[in-house]
Amino acid sequence: MAVTQLIGARIQRREDPRLVTGHGRFTDDRSPRGCCVLQVVRSPHPHARIRSIDTARAAAHPDVLRVLTAADFRSVLHGAMPVTPSFVAEKRQVPERFPIATEEVVYQGEPVAVVVARDRAAAVDAAEWVVVDYEPLPAVVDPIAALDPAGPRAHAGAPDNVCWDVTYTGGDVAGAFADAELVVHGRIVQQRLAPTPIEGRVVVAEHDPYDERMTIWLGSQNPHFIRLFVSQALQMAETQVRVVSRDVGGGFGSKISPYPEDYLVPAAAKLVGRPVKWVETRTEAMAGTTHGRGQVFEADVAVRRDGTLLGMRLTQTLDVGAYCGTFGAFQAVAVYMAPGAYRWRGVEGRTIGVLTNRVPTDPYRGAGRPEGTHLVERMVDLVARELGMDQAEVRRRNFVTAFPFTNPFGFVYDSGNYHGSLDLALAAVDYPSLRRRQAEGRAAGRYLGIGLSTYVEICGFGPSAPTAGATGGIALVEGAQVRVFPTGSVAVYVGTHAHGQGHDTTFAQIVADTLGVPMEQVELHHGDTDEGTGFGYGTYGSRSLSVGGMAVRGASLLVREKARRLAAHLLEAAEADVLVERGRFAVRGSPASSRSFQEVALAAYGANLPSGMEQGLEAVHYFDPANFVWPFGAHVCVVEVDPDTGQVTIERYVAVDDCGTVINPMIVEGQVQGGIAQGIAQALFEEVVYDPDSGQLRTGTLLDYLVPTMSELPVPECSRQVTPSPTNELGVKGVGEAGTIAASVAVINAICDALQPLGIRHVDMPASPDRLWQQLQEVRRP
């Protein structure tokens, strides 16, 4: 590798000046000439039969071009929306989903008709004039109640509401429980969350019937998958469909799967013969963009009295929603990650996917790993409590210490140092003196709590073998193309997609170091399916650096190697004697004779090439990692709970994360801080609420759905430990989700620790003042 100058440097994100000065290019900035506006008429009912749709009055609006329903769309859209196996290949039933309801609506917000009009005001007005005659049907609004065979079905006529029901067993579970000296039970609810990116979803489509081309602009984390799915539905070749996803104002997993509008907008453009734009409102986003979490866990943990963890049995009941999300079953990974950072004799996990009359759930930052982490970290704390041991002590006694380590389900943790990160975090907060302060405070009626979260997570999806099956054919590798122009400027095309992760900076750091050119000479391209490699795999599951970054590095190395061979030829030296140093190709032992990268780039397009070498200086590389990567760390949250109001104040939040080699510390900190913010948001603030009787969404605006702002959040103190990953030559692991995976349970463990002397054993999320006060009332009651 070249002399490292940029890798590891604290470089400001070079995309930011453009973004923070309002020069980003978001989808809504795009309005092709003649563009009209699409408004979706949505079901107000969680479950109903459509008796009839009367579009006459809306269609008569002078500025309305067409009112379209399922019958119209069936002429241009074919087949059902995709559902991948993800972590559960064995699904019992997968309700077929067409982008617009035909006879039955199964969630509030499901499209039933669309209005295409000349302007937004007309579209919104006319949409109110579409009259849909519904026959309301009983709705399934609770995933646990949904399992009652006598209850209603989310889809009329379905045998039951079970989408999947699978049990995975790893190790000697029966033996572990037979040897148990104590079994600790826990029930943990993971509330539904709305991903709430700042930029909602937007789709613009233009159909050119003469070139037979469809261009779709939208905000997507993986535009190539959207092209794959939508081109199939439109029965167009992939070459005829171009998907462009430029700047995107956040995804958090909610912009992975294809949405009904991703199909309806291009189809409408085709049917109407004009470019069409749809811009989601926040209320539509709350109701129609996939939610995350929505799971209930029951767990039993078998332990010895000395604190040794023996075995765990758990059940995950997952609220799938009305249709199975395209990657919804990914969230079952919570079961595989339930062992956490600990050694067990056996773990058995059952996952039940349940259909309800709510918008589908799908990956949301962390997707299954926050849930698995929350479960195991809560259970470890409950064990400590029942045994009267210190929470840190139980963890230390059971940590995995030798790597690579195979967990009960056969996953191989690549590297780690769990004791090291916990020691660093506890030293940072001065744990012993905190515990003293806690004891003193209690005596004075003040309730300080200390919460630990020693997480390990799986990311960097992923090796081709397991992931090809999970997506239904496409192995999650990553491709990159590096092109060097005659003047030496470098264009890099990546299949990942940046929507807040700062790839423009980190990937340029890798390329610049590998080629030995200044960063400014390197330009990054992503998000346009007409450019770069044949397929791009996108950005999710903290995979971009450890898979995409390696593809970028690999393609850069191919370029460098060709340049070196060419330089040897130009320098009339043996290839083996030519070294690359600081952007120059020099002959070993005679540094005076050398060629710059620019000179070699120009020569690559000239006539003086070694025999057999073709002109040009460019390369494509696909990287297929040998394993997932396994970031880990220790977070400590210190809270004070006001016993009179139930108000929680976070006094300190310390995070020690180990994501292997760090390319850019500033970006890592940004990712960790943002991730922690979302974890705290789940712990204390956010919850999607549906009315338990009517099934109506009650958190339809940001007035009701509490996304915390900077004023409500602590500034986490982030530090690091570096244990390089052996899985890739960069030594990197992902860090996009780590903060979220770790944080929710650090906060909840702190609250439970604070309230332990008052008799509170467990607290569910969000730990709102009202909820805590109610719980305190119950334990205070004689």
Partner: protein, 269 residues
């Protein structure tokens, strides 16, 4: 979303405003800072036929002390109230409340008259207006605050009636407003206001019923010489606060007591 279509007129003075409102009928609405009305229109929960914008009517943004009354023009914005030296001297509690309304954008646009006219039980100024016996002076006359907040979003204002100013008694003694909320920029889940005035305590509660509330039982207990902690226990007497996503009715009653005690203790400290 975008509002349904409506007519828009900008009034030059209040006579013009009332005349237009009379002509346009009860479906027309006054527009002041727009920070309650426009959000409702965007969600199409309000669909007025016309807006009569009083935002540029001169003379409605003055603040002055007139004898023992503080007179504040209907168009005075939250930010101006929070900054005003006059308010800080004559009725510091009002300035402190104003500094905590919504966020910066809301404080830059929203008006005192708008909050009073809107009569949202979560609005902060109505609590102070009620507990201190403010007067709401309009184009048609004057309403004592105790008769003004009739129910949720309901006041005696006629469709063509416009608030000119609100007058408060000058009160610079011990005071405190505790606004309990989840996010800094949010409305009060419960607010407790205390002000010492004429030697006695006035206690008000925000968002504990369909209108602002006065904690009269607690006031009486204080007058009888009970301790603050004892008196505060009676702060929820007669309240039947709403239950919503933020808080249950019981929890609001509890908060009314806890916050009143804390407000009294902090005011006295």
């Amino acid at each position: 979303m975008i509002p349904a279509s409506f007519d828009y007129r900008r009034a030059h003075d209040l006579d013009e405003a009332t005349r237009w409102l009379g002509e346009l009928g009860p479906e027309a609405k006054v527009l002041a800072g727009g920070h309650s009305l426009i959000p409702l229109m965007r969600l199409r929960l309000a669909q007025p036929s016309a807006l009569v914008d009083i935002g540029r009517v001169p003379g409605l943004d003055t603040i002055r002390v007139d004898g023992d009354r503080l007179r504040i023009g209907a168009l005075v914005r939250h930010a101006a109230l929070a900054r005003s030296e006059v308010v800080r001297r004559a009725l510091p509690l009002l300035a402190e409340m104003a500094a905590e309304v919504g966020d910066q954008q809301v404080r830059a646009r929203g008006t005192l008259g708008g909050v009073i006219a809107h009569a949202d039980p979560a609005g902060d100024y109505p609590t102070l207006a009620l507990m201190l016996d403010a007067e709401i002076v309009t184009t048609h006359g004057s309403h004592p605050a105790r008769d003004f907040f009739q129910h949720l979003f309901t006041t005696p204002l006629q469709p063509d009636e416009v608030i000119r100013e609100v007058t408060f008694p000058v009160a610079a003694g011990p005071h405190r407003y505790i606004k309990f909320r989840r996010r800094r920029c949010d409305w009060a889940i419960v607010g407790a206001a205390v002000q010492q005035s004429d030697g006695g305590w006035r206690l008000g509660l925000t968002n504990c019923g369909p209108t602002p509330m006065r904690a009269r039982a607690a006031e009486a207990a204080l007058a009888e010489g009970r301790t603050m902690a004892e008196a505060a226990l009676q702060a929820a007497e007669g309240l039947t606060p709403p239950s919503d996503l933020r808080a249950s009715s019981d929890y609001r009653r509890h908060l009314a007591r806890v916050l009143t005690r804390r407000a009294l203790e902090q005011a006295a400290a």
